[in-house]
Symmetry: none
Subunit: 211 residues, 2 copies
Amino acid sequence: MLGILLYEDNDSLRESLGNLLALSKDLLLLGSFSRASGVLDQVRELKPEVILMDIDMPGTNGIEAVRQVRTIDKKVQIIMLTIFDDNRHVLDAICAGASGYLLKKHLSDHLPDAIRQVMQGEPPMSPGIARMIIQKMQEPAMKPAAPDYGLTTREKEILTQLSKGKGLKMIAADLAISLDTVRTHIKNIYEKLQVHSQAEAVSKALNDGLV
Amino acid sequence: MLGILLYEDNDSLRESLGNLLALSKDLLLLGSFSRASGVLDQVRELKPEVILMDIDMPGTNGIEAVRQVRTIDKKVQIIMLTIFDDNRHVLDAICAGASGYLLKKHLSDHLPDAIRQVMQGEPPMSPGIARMIIQKMQEPAMKPAAPDYGLTTREKEILTQLSKGKGLKMIAADLAISLDTVRTHIKNIYEKLQVHSQAEAVSKALNDGLV
DNA sequence: CCGTTGCTCCCCTGATTTCGGTATAGGAAG
DNA sequence: CTTCCTATACCGAAATCAGGGGAGCAACGG
């Protein structure tokens, strides 16, 4: 039995989708909403396996909602519902963490199948989307956003140690320098990376591939 | 008129592909080769719009050839030819810079169309490939023994905030809970992750894909 | 009903970190 | 030779964090 959440601002469509889902005995609609503003609480509360999310909604849009959900749950499968198939929003949604997408005009035919499909790790996806994905993949590959910052060798070294959980004291010992020197380096790192804590520095370093 | 280069190690297939291309008046086969070892010089010399590249070739394989070509020409469209559709090589080829991908058994039907298609920025792509791409995109590093630890939703949420550089105080404000509660959660996180600092917790979370 | 779990809140102490300075020696660059 | 950069070192105040304790409450399952 798959628990499902539905977000769709069009009342009649939302209702008919609910009816459609009710026809499948292995699908259970845990809740349906016209706005995504409460999505975090709802996901926490209802723990769905699948979320059906309209892209265009007043207030919190579907893409932002996906992003939010992904911050608290990396496993729930999210299927986007949309009326456009050549919309860049679809791509954004995929990048935000959506698992698949369906055109609204095809919903009645494919929805239940698509849900089962997505649970088996085979995202429903129209051919047009694949193209956009490929292109997106190849562009950013050339633009690895080389954020070098001006980090010196010593600073990178200290950043690496930090990411391993070493305290300043231990780093000083390992590098055979004074605790105060380590402090100075870290101050400089903060300055260069525009951060103000170890945690953020480590996060930035890891995300930008500096270590 | 589109200039085309063909790389295919099977002699008879290479010949029949050449004949196939000759049937289309808007396509011009600039050259065909059984090995990709000279691809760089040939691209420089013949300046093709499109390259048809077999994946499996003796010597320099098709994927490596793509990588090389991309270092000197970012605009030429490259279509991979292969007999397998569920092969990880396909994904590698895409990452290396291939624009599209065709199964050999479908060549005779689709090749001329595919070439025109790719020139219009619409990479030909069999449906199964699209799925592979999406999945690879979304689960880039899930393979190395995804350690779950017993982190609760709330704890993951706080870990995420930490990695953004938020201080405990700010996290408390954002989540509308007390500072002490945040500290309790963090204490539990440390316990579960077996770490002793924010930096190490963030590092571990990022490396193990928990956030 | 009881035990467990997740989330919440509180207190305390000592250690650590942040951040503001200042400063010297050596090397690279101008 | 002077300037800039890097690494080094020190001081001190203020803020934050780690680690220890205890406790209430709601939900869930046996």
